[in-house]
Symmetry: C2
Subunit: 183 residues, 2 copies
């Protein structure tokens, strides 16, 4: 399966009203604090890898969980497929201690509030990213043969929400933040 | 707090009977499969560190959990104190995938059945280690000022179980297995 994603920068007020009108189902509302690590033996920016600890707080249930994620380099450029491994960890501080002991160092932090909605088989995500702004992302899994159809559907959905698919942003939030830092 | 440990090689039959006579409380009975990793950027044998994934199956409840552990070098030789971080992980295969992606490679595996008993404030552990043999370990946490007293108590307990504290083995199972391999 492939992940089809479309992301634009947008104020959330009008989008939230449009989601409500369209009958979108609220899924969850979380706060995510992502810490990205530098490796002691590789330049992740060059090898196109990432190591992340994500602390996620469910703002309704007030529960916090932590996950460790490794993203490998693109194995297939066209579909943006990459190797990815993720597991929840019981103790976020201990996980950070393990990485620190092994010589990995926190390099950047991305903090955001994330609201997810389900609409017409798609997930619509409203992200408010600290230091960057407000974004709307539409995503859905697709088999290889359905990628184009699912992408077209995501573009239509984005237009239905009053947004312009031509303003698609392809960079990750981490990439946008680092680009801002570099200026 | 410090961990006082005493380990000897011993058949389990007579020890089990002695534990029963002494009124020891069975704590749990597990199977542990430990995978130790080599690092891509350090020689752990030289730096005196270890990175381990432990898959533990509770043989009574038939539940399996996985933990990731980093052990740093000794920070204080006399008390054998070292930095240690451990966290349970939800997905052992994903944790192995993360380590593999980062360039860490499985170097050695230690498999054992472990029975734990509580007796007089100590934990008595019967380990049957594949490829090595049967061992009995007595351990207890102690404040720095109590270390000698707790150690003497562990030696007495070992004698009560029909074992000889002078036969203490200081190497880890991993160390013993690697020493066997080197012969």
């Amino acid at each position: 399966m492939y992940e089809v994603e479309l992301k634009v920068e947008a104020d959330h007020g009008a989008v939230r009203a449009a989601l409500d009108d369209a009958g979108a189902e609220p899924v969850d509302h979380v706060r995510q604090v992502d810490t990205y690590y530098d490796a002691p033996h590789r330049e992740f920016a060059e090898t196109d890898e990432a190591l992340r600890l994500r602390e996620e707080t469910d703002l309704d249930a007030e529960e916090t969980t932590t996950a460790m994620t490794y993203k490998g380099p693109l194995v297939e450029a066209a579909s943006k497929t990459r190797e990815e491994y993720e597991t929840g960890v019981d103790d976020g501080d201990a996980a950070a201690g393990i990485l620190d002991g092994l010589g990995f160092e926190p390099a950047a932090t991305v903090e955001k509030e994330r609201e997810r909605f389900a609409l017409d088989g798609y997930t619509v995500t409203l992200d408010a990213v600290e230091g960057l702004g407000s974004f709307v992302e539409i995503e859905r899994e697709a088999a290889e043969s359905d990628i184009e159809q699912v992408r077209t559907g995501a573009q239509e959905l984005l237009r239905d929400l009053g947004l312009d698919p031509d303003e698609q942003i392809r960079s990750s939030y981490l990439g946008l933040l680092l680009a801002d830092d570099a200026q």
